[in-house]
């Protein structure tokens, strides 16, 4: 078969979120690919403009369902840097706890879908069962299962008590046992290795060239992690390792994420052992006259970056760069030469999130028209 152009998307079961991928195939192998984004555009950055700081926090809470701790965490870090405020240790520990629980549920969810892409539905079902332990814990801590909304500027919304700690201990113990079993299966199953080993290889040099971050970079042997490189919340108080692999293929990315779940469990155990006993401060809403600050945190997918500019107590400009932005630059390159059957495997191995990635980038058209929120809604939503 010669030069067949196969469109995948914009709405397609192979891609979890809308995107248009057109691959040119020859003899079952991809010779060229073209990815188009822009179908999940929700205009977050534009929506934030003109909002107060507290309203902005509410918006970043809802950027993504999976990274729903990473975004508010990054936003609060930027605002607190702006006013040079250091939250109390208990607040920092609670934030770290939710960050790690969110990382666990993201990685577990990803691992299930990765195995689903190669046809192992059973493992997806088991991973969803394991994820439920984490979601139950987060629900007990925050009252929510998807958008946790635990963060507030300078403090947190909920405190945790002894019951919560016992609940976390119980669920984490069960989860740890199940994850070890799953890792044993992933490590020994020949079929899984056949589908993942050597697929979508990113050598260390290429990972550096494309500025890759997060588990994808760590699977290529780059030891990069905001939690270690620029510690925030309570990470500098905790003992954990940066997980790296050297092969840089889909299997290495799977191993990195699975081992990171165990690291997160280790961090959670340390937090519940060492969390300081002090009251959670109750503070009024914060207003800042003027200022600009950038911050980054380690989201489950990699470094999450927020730049916030405040003017007249309102957000004047917000710039959000998510890890997917870095991954998608290499996606077309990775597909070339691979079998068409491996498209979902490679795509999922990068763990992209378009709802995080796609925001208002162009706010002026050729007529130099500046859109306010209502105008934007009329035109694009």
């Amino acid at each position: 078969m010669h030069d067949l152009k196969l469109p995948i998307g914009p709405q397609h079961p192979a891609v979890d979120e809308p995107s248009s991928l057109i691959v040119t195939i020859e003899n079952n192998r991809i010779i060229n690919s073209n990815l188009k984004l822009g179908y999940a555009h929700i205009g977050i950055e534009k929506l934030m403009e003109g909002k107060t700081i507290e309203q902005g926090l509410h918006i970043v809470d809802h950027i993504c369902g999976i990274c729903s701790v990473a975004h508010p965490s990054c936003y609060t870090r930027a605002i607190e840097k702006m006013i040079n405020y250091k939250p109390t240790m208990r607040v920092q520990y609670i934030r770290t706890l939710t960050s790690e629980l969110a990382r666990m549920q993201s990685h577990i969810f990803w691992a299930g879908f990765m195995l689903h892409e190669i046809g192992l539905e059973t493992m997806l079902a088991y991973f969803l069962r394991d994820r439920e332990f984490v979601l139950e814990t987060l629900e007990k801590l925050t009252g929510n299962r998807i958008h946790f909304a635990i963060h507030k500027i300078r403090t947190v919304r909920n405190d945790i008590d002894e019951d919560d700690i016992q609940f976390i201990k119980k669920n984490i113990a069960k989860l740890g046992k199940n994850i070890l079993n799953s890792m044993k299966i992933i490590g020994t199953d020949k079929n899984i290795k056949k589908r993942l080993v050597g697929i979508g290889i990113i050598p260390k040099r290429m990972a550096k060239k494309y500025s890759l971050i997060g588990p994808v970079a760590r699977a290529s042997g780059i030891s990069i992690d905001v939690r270690k490189d620029d510690p925030y919340e309570a990470y500098n108080e905790l003992d954990f390792d940066i997980i790296t692999e050297t092969d840089g293929d889909a299997y290495a990315r799977m191993l990195v994420r699975m081992r990171e779940i165990l690291e997160s469990i280790k961090i959670v155990k340390q937090i519940i052992e060492n969390i300081p006993k002090e009251p959670i401060p109750t503070l009024p809403p914060l207003f800042i006259e003027e200022g600009m600050e950038a911050a980054s945190v380690e989201a489950p997918r990699g470094e999450n970056f927020h730049l916030i500019k405040i003017k007249n107590k309102k957000i004047d400009r917000a710039r959000i760069r998510t890890p997917t932005f870095n991954f998608m630059s290499i996606f077309n390159k990775l597909l070339e030469g691979n079998y068409v059957d491996d498209v979902p495997v490679i795509l999922t191995s990068l763990d992209p999130c378009y709802s995080c990635l796609e925001r208002v980038i162009v706010i002026k058209d050729k007529k130099i028209e500046v859109l306010n929120e209502d105008g934007f809604r009329r035109k694009y939503v």
Binding site: M1, L4, L6, P7, I8, H12, P13, A14, I25, N28, L115, H116, E117, I118, G119, L120, E121, T122, L124, A125, Y126, R129, D189, N191, I192, K194, R195, Y339, V340, D341, D342, V343, P344
Partner: protein, 293 residues
């Protein structure tokens, strides 16, 4: 009575086992329902009702098909595919016409059913389905050849020209051919690890994916029949066919093995399947030559 009706007609009307075949479509759909339920329970899910395939078939028969100029021919070909799959059961134990035909005829019917599957895909196939169609064609060539070789290996070994045998326990006596037959069964029923298309993600779908309405109902029933046929075929080879009860229990055992393989394995990529089939083909040829010599 026997003299009036003739021996064959008498056997046809009064042997209770003969009516087994009349129930073969409901049995096949029930097998499909049990398969889905078993997989769901193994995956910690509730799963659909065991009767869901019946509801699906009824719903599909009620749906109207697009009024194209190919409508009737697609229906006719898919019905013929159903008919050939149904007629495969005639050769198995406990059926109306079992053991009166030669196995060569059986192999011909089997290959004819494969060809009809391909034709049904060819007729209904839009441009982007040709990928799956090509894959189906490749697999048909492999599975047809391997199945024929394996079949003649069994026949040569047992020196019987029919399936009916009360001591046809060949599982351990012909391990390679048994393995090959299992592989072909999984391949023909399009179950993991031998899912040749990327149907989960719909990047590459099989040849018949664009069927709908009555044609799709014929196709879905045929797929259930094919799975049940392979379960019965393997049972009759491996466990013999002493009586209906033993046969049914053994069939359920084989069926459970099928389901278990589907649950615990992931899919091979297409090139990996082809490489694997080349090995299977070589093994089957070696065993046949060994038996002949």
């Amino acid at each position: 009575m026997k003299m009036v009706l003739g021996e064959n007609m008498y056997n046809f009307l009064f042997n209770i086992y003969d009516f087994f075949i009349i129930l073969i479509i409901p049995i096949s759909l029930l097998f499909e329902g049990i398969r889905r339920k078993l997989i769901a329970r193994m995956q910690n899910r509730i799963g659909p009702s065991v009767l869901q395939p019946f509801y699906d078939a009824i719903k599909l028969f009620q749906k109207t098909e697009p009024n194209t100029n190919k409508k009737n021919i697609i229906s006719a070909v898919t019905f013929l595919y159903l008919l050939t799959n149904f007629s495969l059961f005639l050769f198995l134990p406990f059926s109306v016409l079992s053991f009166y035909f030669d196995v060569v005829f059986f192999v011909c019917i089997f290959i004819l059913s494969m060809i009809l599957y391909i034709i049904s895909g060819l007729i209904s196939n839009p441009f982007y389905r040709r990928f799956g169609f090509n894959r189906d064609l490749d697999i048909m060539l492999f599975s047809g050849i391997i199945f024929t070789i394996v079949f003649f290996t069994f026949i040569t070994f047992t020196t019987q020209s029919t399936f009916y045998s009360e001591n046809s326990n060949t599982l351990f006596r012909l391990p390679i051919a048994s393995f090959c037959l299992f592989v072909i069964a999984l391949l023909e029923t399009k179950k993991t690890p031998f899912v040749i298309t990327e149907e989960r993600t719909e990047i590459i779908t099989d040849a018949t994916r664009t069927l709908n309405g009555r044609s799709l109902a014929f196709m879905e029933i045929s797929k259930s029949l094919r799975m049940t046929f392979f379960v019965f075929l393997i049972t009759s080879f491996f466990f013999g066919s002493y009586n209906l009860l033993t046969f049914s229990i053994a069939s359920l055992l084989i069926f459970f093995v099928f389901v278990f393989i589907q649950v615990v394995t992931s899919c091979y990529r297409f090139d990996q399947i082809i490489n694997f089939l080349i090995i299977v083909l070589s093994l089957s040829v070696v065993e046949l030559i060994g038996i002949i010599l």
